[in-house]
Symmetry: D2
Subunit: 431 residues, 4 copies
């Protein structure tokens, strides 16, 4: 997610590539980004919450720069660049596109203002309309790039929300991104069940239809051993039991690097939990709330998820176990479209639940290239593999993921110490 894969390696026609569908998707996404920023004040949009996060304004501008740079400049004849200095301001990490504002200093970009960025977006949107009106002669390549741009912007929609939560959690006022709140405390989740899956030779990775980032392919076979997967996510109540049992004080439960983090940073609860007068509260997009015991735990690092699993006598799934288990399921759940903006308790019933939505699920798989993976040529493909070291794969989707962005083969990835995303866990075991 923090490293959008940008190549156009998929070779099959994608349903979205119908120009009208793609245009609908594009402008719907552009409008939605705008709406996500709408509740925020000017200052809220300009501040950088931490070194991994970006200001809202930067997300708004960077996604726009992406279309300008990779679609409009090369493909729209006569396109007038909005402001040539923006290439420096809003390039994220494309070396081929030249030098750029250091990531840690994005919060110092007080200029251009929010209003100039709004105009920038309008300027680019207008030009994108022109592309659809007249530039279709360019054919497949321009459509492919627009489609990538849509998915790229969807990634930043989620980041926009997680970055705002990080910002507001550090404000002494603990502002709510949205007022009110659907969070209701249910005291108990249903007992956890494990579902058995067979082993064998399975195909994983993306192929054929629909859009995918290049890190999802090539499709290839893997061998799985029989395994079990929990039917729901680990809940806040279960996490509280881990804490009560001294989970954050028992080095034997932790990876060595994780224990070093616990000691160095004083971890003793999930990122946004805070104890006030003996009660644990949780900072959310709805402000500071009592903790919903039955909801999935959220904003924990891989190190914490791994320690929890060891404490529970289980393990985390591999990304391929997860993908195969998700095989028959609808890609649906508590995602951005549901507008809950927070993980929710599993619905009653049986069977695998919460596979998409609520929280991204840490897997024990290191983020690495699939066999035969080769980055594409050119700036768009420049960096596809550059993050494939030292990070862990997450699967599923979160309450902040745009619904059309989720896929069974989607590979999200973060460093094992990072906590500010909507990340949780599901237990697995040997079959």
């Amino acid at each position: 997610m923090n490293a959008p894969a940008l190549t156009t390696s998929q070779t099959q026609p994608s349903p979205l590539r119908d120009p009208q569908d793609l245009a609908d998707s594009l402008f719907r996404t552009r409008r939605q980004t705008h709406c996500l920023a709408a509740p925020l004040g000017v200052e809220d949009q300009a501040a950088q919450a931490n070194e991994d996060a970006s200001p809202t304004k930067w997300h708004l501008a960077h996604t726009t720069w992406f279309f300008e740079t990779f679609v409009l400049q090369p493909f729209l004849p006569g396109y007038r660049t909005f402001d040539p200095r923006f290439n420096y301001c809003f390039n994220s990490y494309y070396e081929a596109q030249g030098p750029r504002q250091p990531r840690a200093l994005r919060g110092l970009l007080t200029r251009p203002t929010c209003f100039e960025v709004r105009d920038y977006r309008a300027h680019v949107d207008e030009a994108l309309h022109a592309v659809f009106a007249g530039a279709l002669a360019e054919g497949e390549e321009v459509l492919k790039r627009i489609e990538i741009g849509v998915h790229h912007e969807q990634q930043h929609q989620e980041l926009l929300l997680t970055d705002i939560l990080s910002l507001f959690a550090q404000s002494p006022l603990r502002p709510a991104y949205r007022e009110g709140g659907p969070l209701r405390v249910r005291h108990e989740a249903e007992p956890l069940h494990f579902i058995q899956f067979e082993g064998g030779r399975r195909s994983v990775g993306h192929a054929g239809e629909g859009f995918a980032f290049d890190n999802e392919g090539p499709r290839h076979d893997v061998l799985l051993r029989p395994f079990q997967l929990a039917d729901r996510l680990v809940t806040n109540a279960e996490w509280a039991a881990f804490m009560s049992d001294g989970g954050y004080r028992a080095p034997a439960l932790w990876l060595a690097d994780g224990w070093a983090r616990v000691a160095r940073d004083g971890w003793r609860a999930p990122l946004y939990w805070e104890e006030r007068d003996g009660q644990w509260l949780e900072m959310t997009l709805w402000g500071l709330k009592t903790i919903d015991a039955a909801a999935p735990v959220c904003c924990v690092s891989y190190f914490e998820a791994d320690a929890y699993a060891r404490w529970a006598g289980k393990r985390l799934p591999t990304e391929f176990e997860w993908e195969c288990a998700a095989g028959g399921l609808a890609v649906a759940g508590n995602m951005l479209g549901a507008d809950n903006l927070a993980p929710r308790p599993a619905s009653p019933g049986s069977g695998l639940r919460q596979m998409f939505g609520d929280v991204w699920e840490w897997t024990q798989s290191a983020y690495a290239p699939y066999p035969g993976y080769r980055p594409a040529d050119g700036a768009l493909g420049e960096y596809n593999g550059k993050f494939m070291c030292g990070q862990q794969v997450l699967r599923g989707a979160s309450c902040a993921t745009p619904d059309s962005h989720a896929r069974r083969t989607y590979r999200n990835f973060f460093y094992p110490h990072q906590r500010w995303q909507f990340c949780g866990l599901r237990l697995a075991d040997e079959g």
Copy 2:
């Protein structure tokens, strides 16, 4: 400047303490602060340029919090605190006033907004009017505190400008705080002359009339040896000669800690100089400009000033040499009232010039208490001595200092490595 001294230790009636004069001064200062922020956008006002700097918005609110906390709450009956949470947000370092937002995270205070801060200022201003209207029965103490508040706010006016310059210097757009610009290149300053001063027993420090911070007293005698003082400040052209002669590459010229900074941070010119296409430019409040050779060098650290003096075969003055030399001079010069917002070349002529205004002048005196100094009791005096270690005294005033803030006995102080203030130097020598 970064550590406003807050006690009301002066015991003589001050001219300003006429209530009407004080009220005039107060509301003029309050309006001026507002005007200084006016050219800035909302984002500009919210960002924190570096760990030593504060956002404009924070300056606006902190100076207001000062009046609310030390004047209105204790002295205005029935005063309604604007928002009790602001004590956490806008307390700078008063331990007795409770915990506060960490200094390095002031840029995350996106709430309250600029507009709320504006309302906060209006609310407090209105209450301050009420103080003058009816609370004079409180007598001397409330007036003394208001007077301190005025001087405190003047300090932050200067900081507001230096912090904005730091912010804009880090923006890839290099915005101008003010458009246009009076800066004109004059190719040569008049030759430097040294003026001879006699030694002997002299009285230094504040006494008697007018306002002073407590670090300016007690007045006491010192012994001076005969000395010489340059008749003007060191210019940019002279600094360029130091650079050309390898000043930044010659360890023998530097204090050990200064040389370590040069090596660590790669210093090779004053803070805001940048080389483009072989030409040196300087970032100013008027934007990026060619360097005025005859203007005083600005935004250099003590380490640099000291190295320059050694290179020149001279030394920096002590703070008492400076104070005694300034004895007969009018407290006037290129300060905030002149609205140049930049140091200017010395006026033609002879005699000591530029003693007030243009740039603060580094002295070789460590910032330390005067003999018999004792901090006052209570929160206002809590920290008067707490910065008296490891910093150097600067004398004079700068182009950003409010004119009524300057005094012959004024002691500004910064760490020897700090560069983002309007600091320069004047040479001295044995008599």
Copy 3:
């Protein structure tokens, strides 16, 4: 290597478990460690070269502490602990064994002295003789633990040499661990050839006979695609071509985290290369030498190896490709027994060469547990999995690896930025 896996999970009888064979192996290993330290002065043995390294004296004592703690104390009736304070000094990271000297401060352990450590070793060796003489009634478990201790000490033999090289490379005198030197410059290696391997379902990991660490199991099947493997290691001459072509200055070749290291630490050549008067030299255990163009490049990080492979249009192998390719080969090569103490050019000929010895080979496989892996109970198994995050697997063996320590299934692992081990690379490609 830096995280010896310590469980006794192997369940098959191992050839070494014949008591007499095991005793021979044990005392031979103990003597050899002693010999490796022999060329070093007292000071050489006490200094800690870097935070990842340990003093020779510490290696000598820690390996001894291992036998004392896990073999003698639990299994030798009446055993007298040499000095109870040594548990604090020489425990590496076993939380269950209590607190310990911080790793970064091992160089401050000037006491016990080298001579006391020598006595400690003698004391423990004598007790180990007693184990063989009389305690065989204890049966299998004590033998298993001794066997682990032997392999554990072999790991530290290699570390002892790499840590001394790091120390001597930072000495202004550039001392030689051994005088003289077999290094002769051959100007060209034979051209590189790629050998084709078939894909399919293969079994990997340890099973059955002989000793293995628990991270080498369980044995399991994997699917391989057809692949090619270079017939020899990348040479110094080839690395020099990478450097000449700007390899260390081209961000597009590097993983993002690798490029950050290049920038931060100024990497521009392998760790021990230094340029003097325009010529590149290399610090070795034989002192500072001219570089042998035909010898394998050594002491490069994973980041560098990966960048090289990308530059060459190839990739690094996976650990399973490597293991399968090594299937039919004798476990033999330029290892510690050859006493070259440096990588050597590939022998002339054809076919896969240098698979064991010379340098450890970075693979693209992240260090992770095999399917079904479970750490053993107890202190010995406490930490088997604790390093399985963020590191890369290396295969083969180096010129400092004891010959009997190498195995086809052996999994060495280091962080991708670490450079001070004898690590190099072999290219791979799609089949």
Copy 4:
């Protein structure tokens, strides 16, 4: 002390300059350094305790290098440099003498060995004998340099002891530099009395007879106000009362930078105090001992001394108050010659006691040049002023100071956060 002043600026003949006296002093000092190192093992002599400290071996060699570089090479015809590489190894900070081993890496100088350094010392001593035998024709300059070398070596004698204490305090074995120990617990010191001193114009600084470093001059007049000085040092019992009263937890007592250190490093007692089973012990050169309540507190920073004085309602003296108060006293006390190697309780009686010996006394004076101070030319004078920023002056002498090294005008200096020297405090007050 950490910045030996090296010029030969004194112009009056010094009593020591009788060649025979100087030779006696020289060789006595050289032997004494040798004796101070004698109780240490080879490893003890090679380790670097912290970044501010140096290995014993380095002290032994550096003081020798000083004579070789500044006396033998320029003045002894035909002198054969022992090893030209030692200039790199053992130069401390003389830029004019070329590059050198980074200070933080002195512990990696395992070569040359202790024995080679011993030979180095013998080689240089022999040559120094030759200087006296035949080189007297060189006249005054060579004698002046030898005299500086003697005082320079005396400084390093004290550092050798403080650095060893730091090393041993970090060893889990808490070794004793010397066995046995004179430390006896006396439960109470005599009550503290303040002695009144008159103010007025006084002369301070060195002049005329005897050796002095150049930072002790020029002699000049200062004005003092009447003041009081405690008749003895602050004791451990008094310090314990400060601790019991929450001294380390009360920010209002501390300088701002001091409080930041308390928070960052967790200070809660003097450097070498440690609590075991509810009892405070102190690490000393005699090993870990119960604390002598009546002995002076030791190994505290300036920040701590200043906070203590504020807590006590007093202040620290200025360096000139101290110097004037010491005017009539014999330069005698518990210094190195007494061989106690630890501070001792004040002797019973009245009047100023403990002015020389026991512990260096922090003053409130920043380390700065005296009026008219100018560094000498050449390498020896290269850096006399380079430490005159950011440090505090200490006066007196400690239990580790060679008796002939102490003077009333002596100015020792350290950074306000440094704690590893034998530093304590004496209270002062207004007169």
